[in-house]
């Protein structure tokens, strides 16, 4: 079977891609997308470790399950916030939101 290292490699890649996206996307929804990548990276780790290292109570999978649910909740809240600010400022580009600075 595939060595564990490949899974971690993949998750690291997704994680970094997500970070990159978070840092560079102008669009708030784009950032949200990138954040999902980060969460998935962690989930891959969790599931892979759960399988490779063994766990009597399947903790990795349980946590991954929670993460999926939380990701859904967070996305909902995030999207609502995006809609709210879109309503107020008519923009979804991050750099437009600098009423408060310095």
């Amino acid at each position: 079977m595939t060595p564990l290292g490949y899974f971690t490699l993949m998750s690291a890649f997704l994680f970094c891609t997500g970070i990159y996206g978070v840092l560079t996307r102008r669009n708030l929804i784009g950032i949200l997308i990138s954040i999902e990548l980060i969460l998935n990276a962690a989930n891959i780790n969790l599931v892979a470790f759960n399988k490779y290292l063994g766990s009597s109570d399947g903790m990795g999978q349980v946590l991954a399950l929670f993460v999926v649910a939380i990701a859904a909740a967070a996305s909902v809240v995030g999207l609502v916030l995006i809609i709210a600010i879109y309503r107020n400022a008519k923009s979804v580009f991050v750099e437009d939101f600098n009423l408060m600075k310095e």
């Binding site: 997500g18 980060i38 962690a42 967070a74 916030l81 009423l99």
Partner: protein, 464 residues
């Protein structure tokens, strides 16, 4: 049902949260909701002692019922109670969605309480996420206010990234130890002879998530914007509740077990403490908005508390706890004064001491206490922290800390100067309410009492 008994306060609180939600939706008379929420808090507070003699761990080790978590749960309940009183007075929140507001506030309190009593990273993650999600909503609660929305978005982006990174760190820890229980992790670390790079990275990621809640540099940057834009009671709560949780988690994480992690991490903590204090205070110097200034000041205070953490002694821990306890009163006093005076710009404070001496006095006492001047409680808090630093021979840290408190006074004085020294008068109306007066008087008494006679609160702190 011993496990559940441990959760009675949280359950009751959440019950009240639901009731306020439903009441808010169903009834048109919303004036009593705040009192209802407050009642819930009182009930939870009353129930809290009954959980102290519960088993030391509950829910298969996910939660612990030690004195430490008891302290933090009480602290959070106390802070929430004060915040509810602030919220009652803050005009802007009275408009609509009141039931929902208190639902969020109480749920947030429940999440915080769970977080501070967790000993398992899984539970920690879940409750931290709950805290995050709920606080995003609260920050952006003025949905028609572009400031509030912007604050919400920024807070959200930051929080999401932080918790994402933290989760990634947790996943790595899981990979290393096959377990997320802090006790067993610490035991494993103690056994391992070499620290692996993955472990270091994982810890940094996890600590990063917690540091965000404490708003430590470099995870502080959303805090000023969020505090400035959020409804004032929410800002006050964010600077107290999640911060307390952040420190509780840091302590839990770094101090669990016989060979706590802090030994290796003290150096980093010291560096961060110095930078955090200095950056927070420095930037605060030039602020013109009081809430924003208080945000930077809360960053600086986090740095101050981090000193005690970096020291890594039991005195240090006690110092943080006492500091947080005192900080609740100082900071809520300051934010409460902001609500009471109904002024956010420093220039608006001109001549307040003549217009309303009471408000000016309350603000002054809170600010001077924040600055750490004797005989106010802030001094005692700083005193204990610096004592812990000196005891462990962290002299440079202590000196940087005290110099920072001078820097801090510089900007606190700006407001005081406006209120007392300025010859102009600002005509903005005040927001005088009896509840607020009560809160402010309470914080004043606490500030004085904890400064002059902290004997009761401090007796568990003993200088060697």
């Amino acid at each position: 049902m011993v496990d559940l008994q441990y959760l009675y306060p949280e359950l009751v609180l959440f019950g009240f949260a639901l009731i306020s939600l439903i009441w808010g939706v169903l009834s048109s008379n919303k004036s009593l909701i705040a009192s209802l929420a407050f009642t819930g808090l009182i009930c939870a507070l009353l129930l809290l002692p009954s959980t102290f003699d519960a088993s030391t761990s509950a829910f298969s080790g996910l939660l612990v019922g030690d004195g430490f978590s008891a302290f933090f749960r009480a602290l959070i309940l106390l802070a929430t109670a004060l915040i509810i009183m602030l919220s009652m007075a803050d005009l802007d929140i009275l408009d609509e969605d009141k039931g929902e507001y208190y639902f969020f506030l109480l749920s947030l309190a429940v999440s915080l309480m769970l977080a501070v009593s967790s000993r398992n990273l899984l539970m920690i993650y879940v409750s931290v996420e709950a805290v995050s999600v709920l606080s995003y909503i609260l920050v952006a609660y003025f949905k028609r206010d572009v400031f509030s929305s912007e604050a919400g978005i920024k807070y959200f982006l930051f929080g999401a990234l932080s918790t994402g990174v933290m989760l990634y760190g947790i996943s790595l820890l899981y990979g290393i130890f096959g377990n997320l229980d802090l006790l067993s992790i610490s035991a494993a670390v103690a056994k391992a002879s070499v620290v692996s790079p993955v472990f270091l990275i994982a810890i940094v990621f996890v600590l990063g998530g917690m540091a965000f809640k404490c708003s430590l540099v470099p995870f502080h940057m959303a805090a000023p914007d969020a505090y400035q834009g959020a409804p004032t009671p929410v800002s006050a709560f964010l600077s107290v509740g999640p911060k307390a949780m952040g420190f509780a988690l840091l302590i839990r994480f770094l101090f669990t077990g016989d060979s706590p992690l802090i030994v290796q991490w003290s150096c980093l903590a010291q560096a961060l403490a110095m930078i955090t204090m200095t950056v927070g205070n420095m930037i605060a110097l030039k602020q013109t908005n009081v809430k924003r200034m208080l945000a930077y000041s809360s960053i600086a205070h986090a740095g101050f508390m981090l000193i005690a953490l970096a020291v890594g002694t039991s005195l240090g821990i006690k110092a943080i706890l006492f500091y947080l306890f005192v900080y609740v009163f100082m900071n809520i006093g300051a934010f409460g004064s902001v609500i009471y005076t109904n002024r956010e710009e420093i220039s608006q404070y001109a001549g307040l001491s003549r217009k309303n001496p009471y408000a000016a006095l309350m603000m002054t006492i809170s600010l001077l206490s924040l600055a750490g001047l004797p005989p106010l409680s802030g001094f005692m808090a700083k005193f204990v922290v610096i004592a812990a630093a000196v005891q462990s021979k962290f002299y440079a840290l202590a000196i940087v800390a005290v110099l920072n408190s001078v820097l801090a006074l510089f900007y606190y004085l700006k407001i005081i100067k406006m209120m007392y020294l300025s010859k102009e008068d600002d005509a903005s109306p005040l927001n005088i309410s009896s509840v607020l007066t009560l809160v402010l008087t309470l914080t004043l008494v606490a500030n004085l009492f904890l400064g002059i006679w902290p004997h009761g609160a401090i007796q568990w702190i003993t200088l060697p």
